[in-house]
Each structure stands twice: as C-alpha cells, then as structure tokens.
Symmetry: C3
C-alpha cells in the first residue's frame, strides 16, 4: 500500500499545483481588468504596477511572509539552503508513508498556493489607487503588505491563530484575502485623495469611463477561471471520494455564484439606470465570486447562486454610493467588490454552515478590517510624509505613463477628449 | 483496494473538473473572437451578450436543462436542497466502493462539465446575430435554448435517447453542440435580417471588417486551448491505461485537426484571394476543431490532420457563399464554422469509426438540425412579435453600445470611416 | 497492484497533457507579446505568422521532427496508420504492467508535450524578424526549422545523442529551445537587415515603440503561466513523493526566477533610464524564466530568485547594446531574452547541480549555437536568393498587413505619426 500512499500524495500535490497556477493566472485577470477600466494615458503605469506587485509579493512572501503566517512549516531551511539543496524542507517518502496520510502534499506546493494568494490581495489595492499614485510609493506599500500586514492576519485564521480558535470561518478568504485587500485600498484612497477633476467644488461628479472594455471583460473572465483554483484548491485535498466530491461542489458553487451575481447586477443596472451596464455586469460576477469565497462548500448550488445574487445586488449600490455619497474615488470599484461584498460573504457563512456563528464572523471581520485598515493607514501616511504619494498635478493631467514609465500604452491610437 | 478505488474516483473527478474549467475558458474565447470581429461601436454590447449568456446558461441548465437532458441523475435533490445540504446528490464512498468502478466520478463534476457545454452552444449564436439585435431579446432566446431546446436534443444522444439507440455517433458534439448552435443562429439571422448597409439594392455587398484582430486571434487561441478540455473530457475517464491513452490521442488529434484546418484555410485564401487572410486562418483552425469533435478518438493523428484540412477547405467557400449567394449576414462566420463544418465532422465519423454508419449520422444530423432550427425559428419569431428583435435603425447606425449598454467599449480611440 | 500501476500511468499521462496544454498556451503568449510590441500597421501579419507557425510546427514535427528527435519511439506507425487505427503506437495495459513502472506514460502524451516545445522555439524567431519579412518566406523557414534543424539538436540532447552522453545539462531547454530559437532569429535578422528608418546614415537610432502594451503584458503573463507546464512537465513524472516534490519545487523556482528577473530589470531600468520601463519589466520576467529553464530543480527558491535576478540584469544591457552597438534590429528583444539569457541559464547550471560541468555546458551551448546558426544562415540565405526575403520598401512603409494579409488589424483606430 506504500505505492498507493505515494500516489495519493502525488495527486494531492499535483491538484494543489494546478489550482495554484490558476490563482497565479488571476494576476493576469486583475491586470487586464484594471488596464481596461482606466484611461489610456494611465494604462502603462497600471500594467507596470500589476506585474511589479506580483513579483514583489512572491519575493516578500518567500523571504518573510510565509514563515510569519505558517510558523510551523520550515520553509526557511529550503529557501535559504546552500547550493545543491534540493527542496530540503520537503517531505521524504519515508515520512509520508509513516504519517499514514497525515502528510499528504508537498510543502512547496503549499507555498506555491499560498504565495499566489498574497499576490491576489495586493492586486486588489492597485485598482483603487489607480491614475494618481506614485509608482514607487505603491511598490513600497506592496513590500509591507505582502511581507507583514497580510501574513499576520493570515496567521490568525489559517496559520492556527486566535481567529481560527474562536470559530471564525473563512474557507478561501472573503475576509483574509478580499476584505484585507479592500481595507488596505480604502486606507490608501483616503490618504491619497480623489483624481483631479473627479469631484468639482460645485458638487458635480465626473464619470471617467475606462478606455478598453474588451480588456476589462477579459480580465473578469480570467478571474472567473482562476477562482476555480482559488476556491477549489482551498479544500487542500482531492484524493478520496469525500474530498473529490467537495472540490466538485466547490467548482459548481463558485461558477453558480458568479453567474448569479452577474445576472443580478445586470438586471439591477437595467432597472436603475435603464441600460445594461457592462461594467456593472463585470463587477456583479466578481461580487458573486467574492461572496461565495468565504464558504463555497456548504451551500447547495441553488443557495450558492442566491449568495451570488445578493452579492450582485449589493455591489451596484455600493459602487454608486461610495462614489456619490462618500466621494471615495475608486476607479475600478475594488473596495465595493472585495470589501462590501467580502463582508457579505463572511456574514452569509452561518446561513449554510452550522459550525459558523454570527458572533465569530463579526469578530473575524472586525479584527481583520481594523488590523489591515489601521496598519495600512499608518504605512500609507508614512509613505506620504517620507517619499510622497501623489504624482505632480501636471503629470496627472498629462497621464502618468510618460511621467512614471517613460512610454505610452497605445502610442498610435489617437485619444479624443480628456 | 478500497483506497485505490477512491483514488481512481478522485483522479477521474479531478480530470473532469480540469477539463470543465478549460471549456468554461472557451466562453472567454468566444467573447474575444466576437469582440474582435465586430465594429468598435458594437463591441460593448457583444461583450455584455457573451458574459450574460454564459451566466444565463449556467442558471437555466441548473434549474431545468440538466435534469431534462440526464433524467437519471438526481441533481434536483442537491440543487434544491435545504440549508446545509452538502452535495446530497453526490456519491458516497460506500456507494463508490460497492459499485466496483461503475460509479467513477462525482455527479457534480459531471454537471460542471455539462453546464459549460451548453454555454458553448449558446455562444455560437451570439456572433451570428451581432450588431443589430436587441440585447434583451437575445437573452430571452438564451433562456429558451439553454433550458429547453439544447437539453432535449442532448438527451436524444447523450442522455440515452433514440439517437443514441439508433447508433448515431457524436463523441464531443460536432452535432449536439456546434451544429445545434449554428442551427439556432441560422434561424435567428433569418428572422432578424442583415445589418443595415450590408447588402445594397444595386446588388453590391459591403465588407465590414472587424475592429480588433489581436482580440479575435486571442479568442481563437483560447478556443483551441479550451477544446482540449472539450474533446479530452468527453472520454469521461482517464484513470487506467486504456483511458489515459485515449485522452492523450484525443489531445493530439484535436491539436492536429486545428493545425490542418488553419494551414488549409490559409493556403486556400492565399490562392483564391491572393492574400494570407488572417480571419480565414482563424476560422480554418476553428473549422478543424469543429470537424474533429464528432470523433477525435478513432482517427490516427495523420487522419485527424486531414479531417481538419477538409474542414479548413470547406469553411472558406462556406463563408464566401453564405455571404454572396445566400446573403445570410453572419458577421463572424459562425454558421459556416459550426454548422457546415459540424455536418462535415458528423459525416466523417464513419471514415475512421467502424461502429458508425452514414445512415445513422444522417439521421442524427437531420434530427438535430430540424429540431433546433424549427423550434428556434418559432421562438425567434415569437420574440420578434412580442418584444421586438431589432434595434431601431438609428441606433444601429450610431452603434448599439450606447443604445443598449449606455457606454462605449473604446471611448478614447477615435473611429475612422463608418 | 496492477490497478495501482495503471492509475500511476494515468496520473503521469494526465499530468503530461495538462503541462502540454499549458505550453500550447505559450503560443498565445508569444502572439500577444509580439502583437503588442510591433506597430499597428504590421500587427495582422505578425498574428498570421504566429498562428501559422504553430500549425506548421505541429504538422512538420508530426511528419518528420518527432521521429528524427526520438528515433526510439515508433510514432510513425500510429501517425500513418490505416483507418480505424486507434493509437496503435501507444502502450497496452499488459505492457505497462509488465514493465514494472518503466513505461509510465502514454507515448502520445509525450508527443503532445514535445510538439508544443518545437512551436515555442519557432515562436521566438517570429518576433525578431517582425515588420519587414515576407510572410511566406517566414513560413518556408518554419518548415525547415521545425522539421529538421530543431529536431537534430534536440536529438543530441534529449533523444539520447552525444551531448547527453557528454554530460551536457539542459533540463527544460534554455539551450535546446530558447537559445536555439534565438540563434535562428539572429541568422534571420542578419540576412534580412534592419527595418527601414531604424538606423539612419547619420548614426542616429530611432526608437520604434510597440502599439499595444496591454497586449504585450498579457502575452508575458500567458508565458509565465505556460512556463509552469514547460518546466514542470519536463520532470516527465509526478506520481510518487519524489517526483511530486520535484514538480512542486520546479513550479516554485520557475515562479521565483520570473519574479526576480522582473524586479531586477525594473530597478535597473529605473536607475539607468530614470523611468520604470514596462517593456524592460516584461523582458526581465521572461529573462528570469529563460534563465531558470536549464535547471529549475536543483536550486533552492532563493537561488532560483537570484538566477532570475542575474537574467533580468543581463537582459536590459543586452537589448540596449544589441540595438546601439551591433545595430541588430530585433523589435521585441527576442535574441537578448532567449539567446543571451539562455546562455546564462546554461552556464548557471553548475552553480547548483553537482552533475554539471562548465566544460559540458560550453560544449552544449557551442554545439547548439553553431549548428542552428549556420544551418539557419544557409536556409535564410537560400530563401533570400530563391523567393526573396524582404517585402518591397513601399509596402514596409505602408505596413505589411495590407500587403501580405489584405486587411488591417485595427481598421477603426486612427494612427498618429508614422
């Protein structure tokens, strides 16, 4: 039976890697989504920001974050190993067999899966602060969030910390990943302020449409695909009937919640605005995905659809009121999609999961929000004071692509207006 | 050996989910392909249509379609289950082990794989009716096709109905999926009519080029990738030598047929038009993929290449004559690619599969075509009468993005001509 | 235990197919990368070139290349088989069980994995010769490279030839694939010459920016994702603890090298040019990926990051000096990314792999470079003499899309300048 144990370990590891690759692909999703929703003159910079933050997240999480979040795993040994160290930190066949199934996947496959999660959290921030932040200030924040802020609250839940002990349920991270990113983004937007010309002194609000909606749509579809890995991989195992069924249900529920969110947001936009607003449909699908992420395993597919529908119905007014009432300038709606709907996802868990309580969910979301928001606010403020946070006004009007990156995203396509 | 049975079930389920995710990704392929082949002013609407139809297909197929198509599977129970129902419809480990291998994958993984298929069929329709149909009329049709029209003919073949009993062979759906979508599209185009300005009274025909060929190319490549899941997953199992070899052969044949179709269409376009027409190359690859879908398992790789070559040689004149002789205005060539070549795929099965007969193939394609075409014609006509099917002429000239979606896909890129 | 052996075979085969599909996806990555880095007027042609070369590579490698590179595998039999031949060349369950684990995956899954590699090598060429080569001359070269030049040197290393016997180490092909492609590209650029207007007689050099950087960024991210299959699949097996750990480490190292390369190139560009040059960041990530490809298994993740960092630091000056000093006009930097950094990847192997020697690495890279460069030079020159290699000067100024493909990539987006 040793061969069977090894084979089972191999399947779980391979499943983990495939799911991790899908989550890595979400980096492309955020990149395209955000590039499609900003103006042409700020596109190269947001592309640079997205690919840069992914790389920074990987490096910081390897050096610091993973060991902070999962202190039990001895990655340090493997990472800092001498020349010719071949995955010294990973499990030997002897250990795997001796564990009788308790050790059932490669430690490095776990690291791979976790590292793409932290990149996801950071990606959420980049959209909200688009079109006016200094590039290197953003990267500085990325270092702090991915190396320290995210891992600490990740440890509280997934590393076996006090939130886990308190019964807080967050299967794949509506709170730990999505609301975390949204809280950091909100702090950033508050310190940074709105884009020039967005809110006039006379009270009028200017709508600033994205320049390339096919890209934004592609980004949403990439995220939808990647989310199968995000939620599906969070089961952490697939190699017996129970786990295989669980992963299948998670795939179905993830898909249905996105579908429900999309349809709900599209219908609400049709009724409210009189038009089938594409950007609301995209945000509706993402809202469905964020909503189901806290608990994709206990709902039936129909319940998952409804959880997504509520997410889609929430995200449209959230985006509108965030803009009109609170004058929080979030070009891509990231704070609404990942924050407001992330909260809904966390609060919806007790509806289908008998192990969850509203109290524990509130404790978890409150703790995560306060931790991430307060530490982020301090870091953003420190960045503002020390190295500055906004590009010069003139650069903002001309487009930050030239100022920050020295090139244009679409040099041959004439721009009209603006 | 129980652990081995469970492991085998897990591998087959995981394989099914990976293939299903690839087919879901085809939704992005159709979206990009169609967005690239229409004009800029109609791009946001076709994006909305594509993401909307995918969501509608998922919801309708969950509520109605799957149970209609596979009445033996008790999904209803799981879908409509009460709170905290955890995949009640799925197989227990005890059942799986007792079945001795007959029950070898999760029911929900099967649902996931099937639901993305129906979305594919509906995606085919959206390209053909692009640039002049009312958005909500399209969505109304999507509800009917994915909930009722598709599942009924799907049942006849894959659910164990009379076409299956009659020996009709359609491995992954050249007929059930692709020709089905094309027949519904043809009915739609007939009821809808051509785009304004396409066919003049003096007999001249206006070529209307797509606005973004990199997107269209990306769409084709996404479809090529997704098709590995489409055909490869249709083997339904991978967990022993015979099935693993079969899936490998299907991957190779799918790839070779696409390659053959692309090269053939590109060469034919070069000879016929004097230019290496990119859109014909894209349609040639898709034709190869459609052609091999009815039987990707019995041809050798060289035979698969030739089946693709014939598909590629067919699709070029099909597109030309559909436009010039029959004046059927199909902006993306969907009826030719999925319909004409789908028929070729079905008729090619007996060339390599000894279990297929020309008679059964003709019965199957005739039945599917008549069922889908007639029911679709009725539904399209009813939609036309009850809620209207065409946007106002003025809106069509100005672009339906503003009229239907209230936004533009590329607000900053100046448009020339048109 | 026979069932376990079959299951193990199935898992390894499925893993191979998934990795192969990811490598096929790299074709989309190169297509988008190159389409984003050329001018709008030459975009349709580079799209045609990329999809065409992929198809040609598949056909030529099936007909000739695979059998040349792996003479031990009897693919011919399966490929040329008569009607109803079902993968005759593949392994039977009896053989697999009798082999006691030596035969552990489907031959056709191996063919699939190999065929997408040769397409990768050819994709490298297309970017370097962009914007001035005749389309059909390019395709002619593609036939020769994928059918003959690549397989011969592939045989020397991976087919069991003299380079393998000499101890040359090249795990996934920094040399066999990437430097091979770069050497063929260099020969092509030398025979072809620079784009008109690139280098003036007065010594000035004109920068020619790419027209669509979101596409180029998408291309890089697709390549990053696909590379998990490229390197991860090159372990050739996953189904026990040792192999599963190895594949996990390879995924992690591939990801870290790309991250290191991206950050290093971005920082160097910031320091050198004063701007966070996005195209350098993209090339830095690709450089990290190319660098780790020769040996993704023996470095620790930190070492992999450093190997990527060196790749990123090399690629920026390589691109600059290739342009300014050597006046080699490579629009996408392919020769620097895949050639210069490919060499670095090969030379870095002995740093972490005790089985590698600098001598064997130099022998390997010298042999591959000389073979590919000289044969390519001859073929390019023959093409130039016999059918011509450059488009007419007027066509080059007007854009080769109209001349070669008879259509425009972006007919509605006004072009400025050029």
């Amino acid at each position: 039976m040793d061969q069977v144990t090894e084979l089972s370990y191999a399947l779980d590891t391979f499943y983990f890697l495939v799911c991790g690759a899908l989550v890595m692909w979400m980096a492309a999703g955020f990149t395209m989504l955000e590039a499609g929703l900003v103006r042409a003159k700020n596109t190269a910079e947001i592309l640079t920001k997205n690919v840069g933050l992914y790389a920074i997240a990987c490096i910081m999480y390897m050096l610091v974050g993973y060991n902070l979040m999962y202190p039990g795993e001895a990655l340090i040994d493997g990472v800092l190993g001498q020349f010719s160290v071949l995955g010294r930190a990973d499990n030997t066949a002897v250990d795997v067999i001796a564990s009788g199934g308790d050790t059932y996947y490669s430690t490095l496959s776990d690291f791979f899966f976790q590292v793409v999660f932290v990149a996801t959290a950071m990606s959420i921030v980049s959209g909200a602060v688009a079109e006016r932040m200094k590039l290197w200030s953003f990267f500085t924040f990325a270092i702090i969030l991915t190396g320290f802020i995210y891992p600490v609250q990740g440890y509280w839940k997934w590393g076996g910390g006090f939130l886990d002990a308190a019964g807080f349920q967050d299967f794949a991270g509506s709170g730990v990943v999505h609301m975390c990113g949204a809280a950091a983004a909100l702090a950033g937007v508050i310190v940074l302020g709105a884009r020039k010309g967005k809110y006039s002194k006379d009270g009028s609000i200017k709508a600033i449409p994205g320049c390339n909606l096919p890209l934004a749509t592609l980004g949403m579809l990439i995220l939808w695909l990647g989310w199968f890995g995000f939620n599906g991989g969070s089961q952490l195992a697939v190699s017996n009937v129970e786990n295989a069924n669980a992963v299948a249900l998670i795939f179905v529920n993830t898909n249905m919640a996105a579908a429900g969110g999309l349809v709900a947001a599209l219908l609400l936009a049709r009724v409210w605005f009189g038009k089938a607003d594409l950007t609301m449909a995209l945000n509706g699908a993402l809202a469905g995905l964020v909503a189901i992420t806290a608990e994709p395993l206990t709902p039936s597919p129909l319940e998952a659809t409804m959880i997504g529908v509520v997410g889609g119905l929430l995200v449209v007014p959230a985006i509108v009121f965030m803009d009109r009432m609170f004058r929080i300038d979030d070009p891509v709606g990231a704070i609404s999609v990942h924050g407001i709907v992330g909260i809904w996802g966390l609060l919806a868990v007790p509806l289908t999961n008998v192990e969850a309580t509203l109290g524990a969910q509130l404790l978890g979301l409150g703790t995560i929000f306060v931790w991430v928001f307060v530490t982020s606010l301090i870091v953003w403020f420190a960045i503002k004071v020390i190295i500055g946070i906004r590009v010069p006004e003139e650069e903002e009007y001309e487009g930050i692509d030239i100022g920050e990156c020295g090139l244009e995203a679409y040099p041959e396509f004439a721009k009209v207006g603006e």
